[in-house]
């Protein structure tokens, strides 16, 4: 019983009808096997008819056409459709978390001022370039998270690039106050927690500054990094005058408070996952960095493609119309025998009349 239902499920998984009750009419498809479209004429013996495979084939074909016409009609009435399906495909891409800095400094231009004229704010540049990046990678599963004073999950890992586009579109909204990189990273790592796929995973951190990471958060991050092997990219949008991540201060003031960017870099390096930092001081540099990331993350990936529901009512009615037209043509081609029996009366009458005359 179980096997039968499993078999039935397997058979009907891709297909469905709107009104299953109408399918009961499928019994009518047996009708052409017992009835015929033609008027049956008697013949003294079928042995009179020479054997003819073509006639047999035509007969079988017409019965089949009748059955097909009825089946197609019933399926059309029942509303046959192909269900929405998801097909697993292979491509190149990655599972990617975009971790976006939403602090208010992102709204400034690369000159660390409110953008004027044809200048572009950092967030606008990031938005434009990330949108292009996402558009170039159709098979990626992308999640979006933002952080400011606290981390904000925006979008879990998803195939729906429209949503990702919308999420990226929203990152140039005016930002909030602070920058809490540590918890943002923790959130980004947590996206991969239930991702068991063997594809490439990457976290793209886009920020224009850094901050201290709490020691406990640091521990949690090390844990998470050990558990989930990810590629880490830090796209550092460096404003003019801000400290770079590679700058070793000349004076002895090399504390995390004074140089948070440099120490974040050091911390990320120490996580033990593949890590690259890109220091971008202009939109062009950002573009270069993103191209580099694009080049790096090209491992094969399995992704699921969705095929929308397809209505098959029209094709069903078309098939029914074809089969019915075939039957109609056959019916119009029907001929009848003209036995002499009825004409015989007139014939003998004529003879008798002649004789009477």
């Amino acid at each position: 019983m179980n096997a039968a239902s499993a078999f039935w499920d397997g058979l009907t998984r891709g297909w469905g009808v709107d009104q299953p009750a109408v399918l009961a009419l499928l019994v009518l498809a047996l009708l052409p096997l017992v009835a015929s479209a033609f008027r049956r004429r008697g013949i003294a013996s079928t042995r009179l008819i020479p054997d003819d495979p073509l006639s047999v084939a035509v007969g079988a074909g017409l019965r089949l056409a009748g059955a097909v016409a009825i089946i197609a009609l019933v399926l059309g009435l029942a509303g046959l459709h192909r269900r929405e399906q998801s097909v697993e495909r292979e491509g190149t891409g990655a599972h990617l978390v975009l971790l976006l800095d939403r602090s208010s400094s992102m709204d400034n231009s690369f000159a660390d001022r409110a953008p004027t004229g044809d200048q572009e704010s950092k967030s606008a540049a990031a938005k434009r370039l990330l949108a292009e990046f996402v558009a170039r990678r159709p098979h990626d599963r992308i999640a979006v998270a933002a952080f400011s004073t606290s981390p904000m999950p925006v979008l879990p890992l998803t195939d729906h690039h429209e949503v990702v586009d919308a999420a990226i579109d929203a990152i140039d909204r005016p930002g909030l106050a602070f920058t809490d990189v540590g918890r943002g990273l923790a959130l980004a790592f947590s996206y991969f927690a239930d991702d068991t796929d063997e594809s490439s995973r990457a976290v793209l951190l886009v920020s224009d500054g850094a901050a201290l990471i709490d020691r406990r958060v640091q521990e949690a991050l090390r844990d998470a990094a050990a558990r989930t092997p990810v590629h880490l990219y830090w796209l550092f949008l460096r404003s003019r005058g801000a400290q770079g991540i590679y700058d070793v201060p000349a004076s002895g003031d090399d504390s995390a408070q004074a140089n948070p960017e440099r120490h974040l870099h050091l911390f990320l390096q120490s996580l033990g996952v593949p890590y690259r930092a890109f220091e971008a001081t202009s939109p062009q540099a950002v573009a270069q960095a993103i191209t580099e990331i694009d080049r790096q993350e090209t491992r094969p990936i399995r992704y699921v493609e969705r095929i929308p529901r397809r209505d098959l009512v029209r094709p069903a009615f078309f098939v029914a119309a074809l089969a019915t037209a075939l039957l109609l043509a056959a019916k119009l081609a029907e001929r009848q025998l003209r036995p002499a029996g009825r004409g015989a009366k007139e014939g003998t009458d004529a003879i008798d009349l002649r004789r009477a005359a």
Binding site: S36, F38, R39, R40, R41, G42, I43, A44, S45, T46, R47, L48, I49, P50, D52, L54, S55, V56, V58, G59, L62, A330, A333, E334, R335, Q336, L337, R338, P339, A340, G341, R342, G343, A344, K345, G347, T348, D349, I351, D352, L353, R355, A356, A357
Partner: protein
């Protein structure tokens, strides 16, 4: 003379127009019943046969003086005649389902049998009709008789008969019920049964002078359409077949029909029988000629 316009002869009127056909036998009927056919043995009147000497047939009433005087030996010659005897005429009608095709039984077969009955009665012969399907169909049979108006009874009998069933084993039963002496037997059938069965039937009728009447229909021969679809059901077994008619198949069909007729003709020829074709309509002239040839 042209028939008056609108005078449409109804079936009730038409039998009046039946003309009895004379028929001749190639053999001498036995028996003692007087009739119209020159019989076996020696009679004192009837058809002249020969002269014999008075010593051989001491019947002085039949002395032929002219021949006796012409005889150089002076012997007396007596005229000898063949006695006139009657012969039973039997008609065995196959009433199996296949005979339903084209309403042959109610049409030309009934015409033929009525004509034969009339001819037999007019010749002073007894006529017996057997309608045979699985057995002898008593409703479609008439016992030996020579009464007037028998042809009407025969016709009514056959028009009312509904051919049915498969096979014609009734023909065998009827063969057993035929008169013991040699009779003139018309075997009316479409002869679509297996050849072995026809042979057995003819064996069963060995005693009699059999005239097979082969009922055919042009609709399944020359009347076939060249193109088109026909669904045909066997009138005996009910098996249906869809036939896609086309010139090639039509040619093959006609060839098969000709071969079947040739085989049937060969079968009859081997037994010295000359069949009568009953195709589409009763051809009285051809039948009369055939019967006069004996």
């Amino acid at each position: 003379m042209k028939p008056p316009a609108g005078a449409h002869p109804s079936p009730e009127v038409r039998p009046v127009d039946l003309r009895p056909l004379p028929y001749r036998l190639r053999w001498r009927p036995e028996g003692i019943f007087p009739g119209a056919h020159p019989g076996r043995g020696e009679g004192s009147e009837g058809e002249f046969r020969r002269h014999v000497s008075l010593l051989r047939q001491p019947d002085p009433r039949r002395i032929d003086l002219r021949v006796s005087l012409r005889d150089p030996h002076g012997e007396l010659h007596v005229r000898q005649f063949a006695p006139r005897r009657s012969v039973p005429v039997a008609t065995l009608v196959d009433l199996s389902g296949s005979m339903r095709f084209g309403e042959a039984v109610a049409g030309r077969v009934a015409d033929l049998c009525a004509l034969l009955a009339l001819s037999a009665v007019r010749s002073g012969d007894n006529f017996v009709l057997f309608g045979c399907d699985a057995g002898v169909n008593e409703a479609a049979s008439l016992p030996l008789s020579r009464r007037r108006g028998l042809e009407e009874e025969v016709r009514a009998c056959l028009i009312a008969a509904k051919p049915r069933g498969t096979g014609a084993s009734g023909l065998f039963e009827a063969a057993g019920r035929l008169p013991g002496r040699r009779s003139l037997v018309f075997l009316v059938s479409d002869f679509l049964m297996p050849v072995a069965e026809i042979e057995r039937l003819l064996d069963a009728l060995w005693r009699h002078d059999v005239i097979p009447v082969v009922v055919r229909d042009g609709a399944v021969e020359e009347g076939l359409p060249r193109w088109g679809l026909i669904e045909l059901g066997d009138l005996e077994t009910g098996a249906a077949r869809l036939v896609f008619m086309r010139p090639g198949l039509r040619t093959r069909w006609l060839r098969a029909a000709r071969e079947r007729q040739a085989a049937l003709a060969a079968l009859f020829t081997r037994r010295g029988l000359r069949p009568v074709d009953l195709k589409d309509a009763l051809d009285t002239d051809a039948l009369a000629q055939r019967l006069m040839e004996g």
